[in-house]
C-alpha cells in the first residue's frame, strides 16, 4: 500500500486518498455551511427551501466522505472529529466554496460553477476500482444531478432576465470565475490514485465542465471573462481570509463544549 510516486517521494496511496477524500468532504461541508446561512432569507419561499435542501444534501455527503477519510487514515477520527476538530490549514476545500454568499445571484453562480464540476467528477468516480469510493459517488451523483439542473436553469433565467438580474449575474461571474479553475487541477496525489487503480479517471472532468459552463453561459447571455485563474492552494491548506470566520461559526459549539451531543 505504500507505493512511491516519482514526482513526490513522500506521497503514499493512503496519504493521497485521505487528501482527496477530505477535499471532497470539505468542499461539501463548506458550501453546505455557506448555503445554510440563507435559511429564512431566500428571495422567495421556494428558493429558501431549495437552498436549505441543497445544503442538507451537501452536509449528508460530507458525512460519507469524511467517514471514509477517517477509515482510510486509520487513527480513529470520525466524520465529526474531522469536521469540528481541524483548523483552517487542515481543510482541503477549494477557494470557490468559501467565497461569501453575496447576493442571491452570486450564491447561484458559485453553485453553478461548483455543480458543473461536481457532477462529472462524481460520475467519473463511480468507475473507481475502490468500491467504497464508487458506492458513495453513485449515491450522491443522483442528488447532485438535481443541483446542477437547478443552478443551470436559474443562471440562464437570471442571466437572460431583466437588465438588473443580468448585470448582477455578470458581476458574480466575473468575481467567481478565477476561483473556479482550482477545482479542475489534478494533483500529484490524484494522478497517483488514478495510475494505481484506486479511483476512476477524472482527467476528462475539465472538458465536461467547459462544455456545461460554456453552453449555459451562452444561453444566459453572459460573457465568460478572460481573467486568469486565482492562485488557489486550498488543497495545500492555504485559504482565503473567509474560511477562518466561517469555521469560527461552524465549530463554535464543539470548541466551547467539546464532544457535546444532542
Amino acid at each position: 500500500m505504500n507505493a512511491l510516486h516519482a514526482a513526490n517521494p513522500a506521497l503514499t496511496i493512503d496519504g493521497a486518498l485521505f487528501e482527496l477524500l477530505t477535499h471532497l468532504g470539505d468542499n461539501s461541508l463548506i458550501l453546505g455551511q455557506r448555503l445554510s446561512a440563507w435559511c429564512g432569507h431566500g428571495p422567495a419561499l421556494e428558493e429558501d427551501i431549495a437552498l436549505a435542501n441543497v445544503a442538507l444534501d451537501l452536509i449528508g455527503q460530507t458525512q460519507l466522505w469524511l467517514e471514509l477519510a477517517g477509515d482510510v487514515e486509520g487513527q480513529g477520527r470520525s466524520a465529526d472529529a474531522l469536521a469540528y476538530h481541524r483548523d483552517a490549514f487542515d481543510f482541503r476545500n477549494a477557494h470557490l466554496v468559501e467565497q461569501p454568499n453575496g447576493d442571491f445571484g452570486q450564491t447561484l453562480m458559485r453553485q453553478f460553477l461548483f455543480d458543473a464540476w461536481h457532477l462529472p467528477l462524481l460520475l467519473a468516480l463511480t468507475k473507481s476500482p475502490d468500491n467504497r469510493i464508487a458506492d458513495i459517488a453513485e449515491k450522491i451523483s443522483k442528488e447532485v444531478r438535481y443541483h446542477l439542473e437547478r443552478s443551470s436553469d436559474l443562471v440562464i433565467r437570471l442571466g437572460d432576465g431583466s437588465e438588473e438580474s443580468h448585470r448582477r449575474m455578470q458581476r458574480a461571474l466575473d468575481a467567481l470565475m478565477p476561483h473556479a479553475y482550482e477545482l479542475l487541477q489534478i494533483t500529484d496525489g490524484d494522478a497517483l490514485l488514478i495510475s494505481e487503480g484506486v479511483i476512476g479517471d477524472i482527467t476528462s472532468v475539465t472538458a465536461q465542465w467547459e462544455e456545461q459552463v460554456n453552453s449555459v453561459l451562452a444561453l444566459a447571455t453572459l460573457s465568460r471573462p478572460n481573467s486568469p485563474a486565482a492562485p488557489g492552494g486550498g488543497r495545500r491548506g492555504r485559504h482565503t481570509e473567509h474560511l477562518g470566520y466561517l469555521l469560527a461559526d461552524l465549530q463554535f459549539l464543539q470548541r466551547a463544549y467539546p464532544d457535546a451531543t444532542w
Binding site: E46, L56, A116, L119, D135, E138, R150, V216, L219
Partner: protein, 172 residues
Amino acid sequence: MASNTSSSSTKPSLDTVWQWLADVPDPEIPVISVIDLGIVRELEWDDATLVVTVTPTYTGCPATRVINDDIRTHLTACGIDSIRFERRLSPAWTTDWLTEEGRDKLKEYGIAPPSKTPSTLANGFITVAAAVSCPRCQSFNTEMVSQFGSTPCKSSYRCLDCLEPFDYFKCI
C-alpha cells in the same frame, strides 16, 4: 400486534419480520411504510441478532436516523431484543423501488408518485423533466414551481387546470 412474539429461544421467521415492518410508517410521509419505500434491503439472523440492512433515500435526509429508531422500537415491541443496522449505499436507492401499493397510497394522499419514464438529457447535463400528472384532477397540464419541496424527496408543482399546488415525489 402479532401474537407470536418470541420467547428468548424462538426466533420469528424472516417472513414474519417483513410483515411486521409493513406497519412501520415513513416518519415524513406516514401513509407509506418503510417497505413501500423500498429502503429495507435485507433481513438476516446473525445468531440471536436481527441484522436489518437499510439503504438511505437522500444522504442528508434527517428522517434516516428516525427511520432506524422507529424500526427498532417496533421490532422491540414485537419481541426482538437484539437488532443491528447496516447501511448499504450500493445499489443506490431509486424511486423505482417504491411498491405499486406505495405509489397508490401516495397519490391518494395528494402526492404525485414518481414518474416511471426517466427525465431525458437535453443539453449537456440539463435534463427535461418527465410529465407529471396532478393527483387531484389527473391533468398533465402541470408545471414545476421548484425542484425542491417540503422534504428532500419532493418537488413543488402546480396544476394549471385545477390550479392546485401539489408535491411531486421526484424521480431518482
